[in-house]
Symmetry: C2
Subunit: 236 residues, 2 copies
DNA sequence: GTGAAGCGGATTGACAGACAATCTGTCAAT
DNA sequence: ATTGACAGATTGTCTGTCAATCCGCTTCAC
């Protein structure tokens, strides 16, 4: 990596720590969609004051990682399938673009890195290690995104991935999804390696489209579970 | 429009009001890039307490409308041209997609609405009314975005437009930009009206690309202004 | 004059405590 | 079963306080 040894000591504030810890907790699945986050409890478990916590919650709200209903408090959003589908549609656009740009921009060094991640993913598949699969796949994309030459794409993709993270783990456990995933990632890698931008775009788009189909199946499974018992349908 | 008489009374919290007021103030250009926002001053002028204000600032920070440097406080970001260019690149992608989808999805009713906005823009051009130009152009895009069938695109576009808003006004004042803008918007409209998705995409992309070129010229002008002196005010 | 060290005001980061407004669920009355 | 009322829980907001940090200015040494 060509990270230039950033000497800047950015002072870490409590608020930042809280945001990061909560974000990690949400991504890890510790909080499920629909769960409410009670301020006083979080203050206790994080060991911070309410103002600090509330500031952190506002950040996460703006990231769409939580919803805050006035007088009701923060909770993990419950996505409809259409919500999730729209996210996959935009991911298809952005990841396609990122892969295309990456194909012309990536350094040989990072190409090597990319190859390593792909290999790590392959090993994780064979060992049937879901955590490591997600991990190495995430790093694989991260390298592509950081080499696409556009920080906005990187930023948006990060946001979208976070919002559908809970679906990724589930769809990876579908039969054949991991194997197909590996093949698709290989195709993307090959296209990037051969510096063929349009091929890379197409492969990346196809990959996201397949991921979306798997996510849909996973979603239907979840949706058939008994509906959350708390509270009646709040409409109107 | 088919607004279905939404009875919901959304309770407006102080925090939300502050976010909206500050956002409007930033978009209006009241605060310039580089300006620092001093908490105590804002508290005074908005009439709210510091915690409420700080929560609002965290929201705006997550939207990238302001930056908050630890121990230094919030300020309006200063974009490099490359920063702005990356925004235009993504806008090109997203607006192209939005226009394409809109071409197949828009209702005849909203198509009429779109036509009205275009006409309003034309009148604003002839009257040489910059405020009304920006206004009607914004509404024109808003209709396309709200008819693209994807809330994420709408959300992201809103975010991007806000970040380069300060450039839009300036590039509109460039010679011929308004006239060209009108022609490009007409082309987009014609493509949408004829339900030709790919033509609409191409026209929208070209429009953003031209806007980017104008913004670049406007940017260079700004950049040639004397840099804000850091601690120059010396007298005694 | 130049550079280093040090000082003080301004500003932010963080916390505690308090109180009102609102929501939620329960239970009695109709 | 619907309505109304009440109690507890939770959030929205404010005030006040204190420490940490930054910035510009002054002073001092060379």
């Amino acid at each position: 990596m060509k990270t230039k040894l950033d000497l800047r000591v950015s002072p870490r504030t409590v608020q930042q720590e809280v945001v990061e810890k909560l974000r990690a907790a949400i991504l890890s699945g510790l909080f499920q969609p629909g769960n409410r986050l009670v301020e006083s409890q979080l203050c206790g478990s994080l060991g911070v004051s309410r103002p600090s916590l509330r500031e952190a919650l506002r950040s996460l709200q703006a990231e769409r990682l939580i919803e805050i209903v006035p007088n009701r408090g923060p909770q993990i959003p419950v996505l409809s399938w259409r919500d999730a589908e729209e996210i996959y549609e935009v991911r298809e656009l952005l990841e396609g673009e990122a892969a295309a740009r990456c194909a012309t921009l990536i350094t040989d060094e990072d190409l090597e890195e990319l190859s390593d991640r792909l290999e790590a993913f392959r090993r994780a598949c064979r060992r049937n290690d879901p955590a490591e699969q997600i991990n190495s796949a995430t790093e694989f994309y991260a390298i592509i995104l950081s080499n696409c030459g556009n920080k906005i794409i990187e930023e948006f993709e990060g946001s979208l991935l976070a919002r559908v993270n809970f679906l990724r783990a589930r769809s990876m456990s579908l039969p054949n999804r991991v194997k197909n995933s590996y093949e698709e990632m290989s195709t993307i890698f090959a296209a990037i390696k051969s510096r063929n931008a349009e091929k890379a775009r197409k492969a990346a788009r196809q990959h996201v489209a397949n991921a979306r189909d798997s996510a849909k199946k996973a979603f239907q499974k979840i949706d058939q579970l008994p509906a959350l018992p708390k509270g009646r349908a709040r409409r109107r």
